[in-house]
């Protein structure tokens, strides 16, 4: 019942930033670790939330899982099969099971195709179906995602944002996905529609026993939908654990800062406990991005409060992800 559907071990993805033709002569390679040594697992019917700021590598993880970009090293195990090194052709059968909802509403939708053709393509990509079966499946899908039948004859640009998102979800379901990487599924939508989509995703999870990797920067939504949450900072997971624990009793300074940045908490609670303890200590905005030691150190309130201990910045003592509680891991020398 609660089998692990996806396991990621020590996943790394490094980008080489170089100048094309003449980079070979320069010898110096500028490596950017977009994803650095990330491990986690997701069980069936489970949702794992992945949060972090722009550029922290959360989307890169999603793409690497779907083999849209190759991993530099590490292992991705899906349903017991190591899929890291499969060729495109070998991996194609797995695409039935692993799908992705893209942040961009238009990503899944060819602007020159009608909605029906888009769904039809998704249905027939992995198996042959008769026309009657296709019609039947399409109406089934429409019902699942609450979309009007009249929209089938429309082109994507005639749909509203919410409808486009529904078509995108229907497309992943048409293939028969079991595990869905939802990359910011609500960020391009209006508040009133976001709630609909979140509810829809949760309904589908119950009905179809789906597992999600829910990537988002909307902390409240992540907390709501996920069972466990991983917090990323500059390519590394800095804290991982049950959703409620992460949100309410964070151990990593970054997580604490992240959750305290929810504006409404501030406005509601600012009257009660005047001032945030972290306020004013990290006024650095275009922060440094160290590749060694603790990456959060330059912005870290604890680091500054403890008078910049060398253990935090020393490459030899980079903090490791350590278990501090059952199912709660933190990458910090001085957990809160």
């Amino acid at each position: 019942m609660t089998d692990t559907i996806l396991e990621v071990q020590n996943l790394k993805k490094h980008y080489n930033q170089n100048g094309g033709l003449f980079s070979a002569f320069k010898g110096k390679e500028n490596v950017i670790p977009a994803v650095d040594d990330v491990s986690f697992y997701i069980k069936e019917k489970e949702t794992m939330g992945l949060v972090g700021e722009t550029g922290c590598g959360k989307t890169t993880i999603g793409r690497t899982l779907l083999k849209l970009i190759p991993a530099t090293s590490g292992k991705i195990i899906f349903n017991g099969t190591d899929i890291t090194h499969l060729s495109a052709a070998q991996f194609r059968p797995f695409r039935k099971k692993i799908q992705m909802i893209f942040q961009d509403l238009d990503a899944a939708l060819n602007p020159k195709m009608r909605i029906k053709a888009i769904l039809q393509e998704a249905l027939t990509v992995h198996c042959r179906l008769s026309d009657a079966e296709i019609d039947h499946r399409i109406s089934e899908l429409l019902e699942m995602v609450n979309l009007k039948k009249s929209k089938l004859s429309n082109f994507p640009n005639e749909l509203s944002g919410g409808e486009k998102r529904r078509v995108g979800i229907a497309r992943t379901l048409a293939v028969g996905a079991r595990f869905i990487v939802a990359d910011e599924p609500t960020s391009a939508l209006d508040v009133s529609i976001q709630a609909q989509v979140v509810n829809l995703l949760r309904d589908l999870q119950k009905e179809l026993r789906l597992s999600y990797l829910f990537i988002s920067h909307d902390l409240r939504v992540v907390e709501l939908v996920s069972h466990k949450v991983a917090v990323m900072y500059l390519g590394q997971i800095v804290e991982m654990g049950l959703a409620g624990r992460i949100a309410n009793a964070p151990r990593h300074p970054y997580t604490a800062v992240l959750w305290s940045s929810l504006v409404d908490k501030k406005s509601d609670e600012s009257i009660k406990n005047e001032g945030n303890p972290n306020e004013g200590q990290w006024g650095v905005f275009d922060f440094e991005r160290p590749n060694v030691g603790c990456r959060f150190a330059p912005r870290c309130p604890v680091y500054h409060a403890k008078n910049r201990p060398t253990i935090c910045t020393d490459p030899a003592t980079s903090p490791q992800l350590q278990k501090i509680d059952d199912a709660h891991q933190v990458r910090c020398h001085f957990p809160l």
Partner: protein, 319 residues
């Protein structure tokens, strides 16, 4: 880290120079292959009177005992070119390099002059239509650009000559004599004809207009308007400087092509006319030199464009 990744301008420009050099090498190879493959082996005849000075060529020849393999020939030829030895013209017997430079300057004058004319006409039209949208005046101006870019350039040349002969009593054959009082008008005519009707006018106007409208709808122009600043000042670099250098760079080949025809019409002693003569006589050393020189012009043009891009904004240097 972000700032550090932007390289200094000198590095970027020297990179462009290296690319240009590499391209020139490719160009020379392409030209070589055309001649090498052509029937009647013009290349051997071309190399014959040059390889005397080329040790590598003679060595290869004596070694193999037959015609040298193509790469020997290429290297020998390239070595000669590097030393500025483009051979001599078959027809006149004059050294090619000197001839090409002599006529090249005339062609450069014609080309740059007509580019200037094209821009002088196209820029106001483009600015006008980008600002005003679709109006009757605009339509007339746009149609005018379509007409002149579809006109056969030599036919326009004939009309102009016809008019100049009957109105001003100027004769095409008088080029260079300089005796006539109106002769400077005559110098202007080919420039004017080529500038007007090189077949790129409508495209230039369209490109400029689209770039301008695009830049005008950029958000930073909105900001500039919101703070009461001049939008012309803020749109100058992206809306004018960059598109215009782009046009200069991409249209040079077209205008050089047009120059071949216009020089013929007006008896202009330029490179194009010489190319025509050389093609008729199958004067290979000469046409080879001309092709290389023309390619050099084009590369110089795009080098300028890249340099402007880099200087205006180093961020764009990465393609």
């Amino acid at each position: 880290m972000k700032l550090a990744s932007i390289k200094p301008i000198t590095v970027l420009i020297s990179r462009e120079l290296a690319i240009a050099a590499l391209l020139l090498l490719g160009i020379s190879f392409l030209v070589f292959m055309v001649l090498f493959l052509s029937p009647g082996d013009p290349f051997s005849s071309l190399l014959k009177d040059q390889t005397a000075s080329s040790a590598i060529g003679t060595a290869a020849r004596s070694e193999i005992g037959g015609p040298a393999p193509w790469y020997y020939q290429y290297l020998a030829w390239l070595g000669n070119i590097m030393r500025g030895n483009f051979g001599t013209s078959i027809r006149t017997g004059l050294p090619v390099l000197r001839e090409v430079i002599r006529t090249g300057i005339n062609t450069l004058y014609l080309t740059l002059g007509s580019l200037l004319i094209t821009l002088l006409i196209a820029v106001p039209i483009a600015v006008f239509s980008a600002r005003r949208g679709f109006t009757a005046t605009n339509w007339v101006l746009t149609m005018f650009t379509y007409v002149v870019s579809a006109l056969p350039v030599f036919w326009l040349g004939y009309i102009v000559i016809y008019i100049s002969m009957h109105r001003f009593g100027l004769f095409p054959l008088a080029f260079g004599s300089g005796a006539q009082t109106w002769s400077w008008v005559y110098f202007m005519l080919p420039v004017f004809v080529l500038g007007l009707s090189n077949g790129t006018m409508s495209e230039v106007v369209r490109h400029l207009r689209e770039e301008l409208s695009r830049v005008f709808s950029e958000e930073y122009i909105c900001t500039a308007r919101a703070k009461g600043a001049s939008i012309w000042k803020h749109s100058f670099k992206e809306g004018f400087l960059i598109p215009i250098t782009e046009i200069v760079a991409t249209k040079i080949p077209f205008i050089l092509g047009g120059a071949v025809v216009v020089e013929q019409v007006f008896n202009w002693p330029g490179m194009g006319r010489m190319a025509w003569q050389a093609a008729q006589d199958r004067d290979f050393p000469l046409i080879l030199g001309i092709t290389l020189m023309a390619a050099l012009f084009v590369r110089l043009g795009s080098l300028i464009e890249r340099a402007v891009h880099i200087i205006v904004n180093p961020r764009f240097a990465k393609e």
